[in-house]
């Protein structure tokens, strides 16, 4: 996919959201996918405040071709926001040409990105889609699928395997379904942007 980001040797990724959304799990799955599936190096630093349940929380993931000497993410290349608080707190740190992914029902990005400027970030109604699938808690997996599609930071097979290994036993099928829901949405968004850019918006 030509619109996919040309992945550099070292990528800093920051997942943010509320405690309980599965932010840290998403970070762990991503790291596992990179290491076990794609044979790269990866680190995970999880951070949450005293209000672990419902409070701001983040997972810092670094994926690199070579050795990682410092595991903290200061200026993320990819920022994933599943809460307004996370967005407000970290958007200033994102690299200038970094990629922003948001849950469009939970984050209003218009304080930073004026309306009509929606090509600069990727939005998905992950939580709503998870509710439609029957389990709100799968929003993180949907977001991970979306992340895999639009950034290409990990391969899809690596991500799928990591999801299967990391989720509770018995929920693998539904989680893979959720992952694909997000992945397909991401691919559709990329395709839509490509079509729009080439001037072919309708049928």
């Amino acid at each position: 996919m030509t619109t996919k980001i040309n992945f550099p040797k070292r990528q800093e990724i920051l997942f943010t959201g509320f405690g309980g959304q599965g932010i840290v799990l998403a970070g762990r799955i991503l790291g596992k996918a990179a290491v076990i599936g794609d044979h790269k190096e990866s680190t995970l630093v999880q951070a949450y405040g005293p209000e672990a349940r419902g409070g701001a929380c983040s997972a810092q993931v670094i994926i690199a071709e070579g050795t990682i000497h410092y595991p903290y993410v200061r200026y993320p290349d990819v920022l994933v926001c599943m809460s307004q608080g996370g967005f407000d707190k970290f958007i200033g740190d994102m690299k200038k040409d970094g990629t922003l992914l948001i849950d469009q029902d939970l984050v209003n990005p218009h304080t930073v990105f004026p309306k009509g400027n929606d090509k600069t970030y990727f939005a998905i109604p992950a939580t709503r889609m998870a509710e439609e699938l029957g389990r709100k808690m799968m929003a993180n997996i949907i977001m991970l699928g979306f992340f895999t599609a639009v950034t290409g930071a990990v391969s899809i097979t690596a991500a799928e395997n990591a999801v299967t290994e990391s989720v509770p036993k018995g929920t693998e099928k539904t989680n893979i379904k959720a992952f694909h829901k997000g992945y397909d949405y991401g691919m559709a968004v990329l395709k839509g942007r490509k079509k729009k850019a080439s001037g072919k918006r309708g049928a």
Binding site: I124, D184, Y185, M187, A188, V189, K191, G192, R193, K195, K196, R201, G202, A203
Partner: protein
């Protein structure tokens, strides 16, 4: 070919005088030409013209009076319309339009007539034999009484409790036709094969399936009628067929293997086709319908095909199309001509399989149902998947990032019986309609699995009651205050549009119609 089979329909008036001069002079009228004297060229319908080709004629000439000399005023004008339409259908079918000619002569133009006949004979001779193999007249192979019992058992007609729910649901009974599914069921149970309830009524049944929907004993009346037609029919369907049996002729002609059909020649350049694709788009008969009805109701059902391919292209599917696919055979199956249905089914299945197709997409509910259910049910197994375009679209649109432009229309929807009732999926088109952005969408009083038929099926048994039924249905559509009647089947468009031509009801029945496929194609966009 030394002895081409040529039919000459010769008008009784002007040209016949010229022909008689030739006979008197013992002129060399080509012996291959079989002359049929007719009262007026205007009365030779498209069905009659085409019938000759179905029966194996290699050339047909319709010879009438010169413009302005017609005994009845409009005969020659009508004839030229009929000939032009039939010629374009012959062209699509791969028979070649040159096999049918219209010529006009004054009574004293005998030499010109002779020259025309000789040249026509020579040209037809050069074109070679017709690829059409006339189909065998059907013979009732089984004892009809025994077959009636067998079918009644097969479709569980014996379970009929004589409760009358079917009659109270039947749209034909409700518009006042002396017709009752229950009466036919009773006659069948009693083995009365010659009863009018069997002999006549099975040709009136719309096979819409509403009675089976209501039947407390789940008698599958539509399929019972379908199979019974195959047993009862002796002189084929033609006596009950509408439009002179043109469409049945057309379908039977398509059973000839050597036809080089060219049904996609008209496709516009802006759609992308890739004949290496493993996904096939199955078009159906829409191009033929449009040509046949173009003078009557200005039909454009082939737009549905173009819009379907546009929608596939929108999602980066560039389907293959196959020129020599036949009609799916739905209307032959449902009008009692199983042997020819089977021929079409086998031909289609073979052509599709030879092309290495893995998935067939179609936008026509009849093609969908026939390929998916009736082919395997009649022993024609398919090694490819059959998908309705709506399923494909719903799946793709559900992935996200696709939206629909604002549509400043108020919509209502005419359910196609083969999808909404037979396949029991009235929710599928509604899911797609729900994604649109119209000003309003309102259901008609009878909708979904309870929807009323468009008035006809399988091109048989259309009468004034069908018309009354259609008027009633359009009235329901009007009652929703909608201004766009969305349809899901090309036949619904044809039948309802025909009803709207009613000269007495006039404007009160007019309502714009558009196929759901076209509505989607016109408004879909990437977000």
């Amino acid at each position: 070919m030394t002895n081409p089979k040529i039919i000459l329909f010769l008008c009784n008036w002007g040209p016949h005088s010229a022909f008689q001069i030739l006979q008197d002079e013992a002129a060399e009228i080509p012996l291959e030409i079989k002359m049929v004297r007719i009262p007026c060229t205007g009365r030779i319908s498209k069905a009659l013209l085409f019938k000759c080709f179905e029966m194996g004629a290699e050339g047909v000439a319709l010879v009438g009076c010169s413009p302005g000399t017609c005994r009845y005023g409009t005969g020659t004008t009508n004839a030229s319309g009929h000939v032009e339409d039939t010629r374009s259908i012959l062209e699509l079918l791969g028979l070649g339009k040159e096999r049918l000619r219209l010529a006009t002569f004054l009574p004293d133009e005998s030499e010109a007539l002779l020259e025309f006949l000789q040249t026509f004979r020579d040209e037809i001779g050069e074109m070679g034999p017709s690829p059409v193999v006339p189909t065998q007249a059907q013979k009732p192979g089984t004892d009809p009484r025994e077959a009636l019992q067998r079918l009644a058992a097969l479709h569980d007609v014996f379970a009929c409790q004589d409760c009358g729910k079917c009659s109270s649901a039947c749209p034909l009974t409700l518009v006042g036709k002396p017709f009752s599914p229950r009466a036919t069921a009773n006659a069948a149970i009693g083995g009365q094969i010659s009863s009018p309830s069997v002999q006549n009524d099975i040709w009136s049944c719309l096979t819409c399936g509403l009675c089976s929907e209501r039947c407390p004993s789940a008698v599958d009346f539509s399929r019972f009628v379908r199979d019974l037609r195959d047993v009862v029919v002796e002189n084929r369907v033609d006596t009950h067929a509408v439009h002179g049996g043109f469409f049945h002729s057309l379908m039977r002609t398509m059973t000839s293997e050597d036809l080089q059909i060219r049904q996609w020649e008209w496709l516009p350049d802006d759609v992308t086709i890739d004949n290496k694709s493993k996904i096939l788009f199955f078009g159906g008969c829409a191009p033929y319908f449009d040509l046949f009805f173009r003078r009557h109701i200005g039909l454009k059902t082939r737009d549905i095909l173009v819009d379907s391919i546009r929608l596939l292209n929108f999602f980066d599917i560039h389907p293959s199309i196959l020129q020599d696919l036949r009609c799916c055979g739905h209307d032959l199956l449902w009008s009692g001509d199983k042997p020819n249905f089977l021929k079409l089914a086998k031909l289609n299945a073979r052509v599709i399989e030879d092309a290495g197709i893995e998935e067939v997409v179609t936008a026509c509910p009849e093609c969908y149902r026939t390929l998916l259910r009736d082919y395997p049910e009649h022993g024609v197994d398919l090694n490819f998947k059959v998908t309705h375009l709506y399923d494909f679209l719903e799946n793709e649109i559900d992935k996200g990032a696709v939206g629909f432009k604002q549509l400043n229309r108020r919509l209502t929807f005419q359910d196609p019986c083969r999808l909404s009732r037979f396949e029991n999926r009235p929710d599928l088109p509604r899911k797609l309609i729900g994604r649109l952005n119209p000003m309003d969408f309102k259901e008609m009083r009878d909708h979904g699995a309870n929807a009323i038929c468009c008035g006809n099926s399988a091109w048989i048994g259309c009468d004034s009651f069908s018309k009354a039924l259609q008027v009633k249905r359009i009235g329901q559509a009007k009652d929703t205050k909608s201004d766009l009647l969305v349809t899901g089947c090309p036949k619904c468009q044809i039948h309802l549009r025909c009803a709207m031509e009613d000269p007495f009801k006039g404007e009160s029945l007019k309502m714009e119609m558009m196929d759901l496929t076209s509505v989607l194609a016109k408004t879909i966009q990437w977000e």
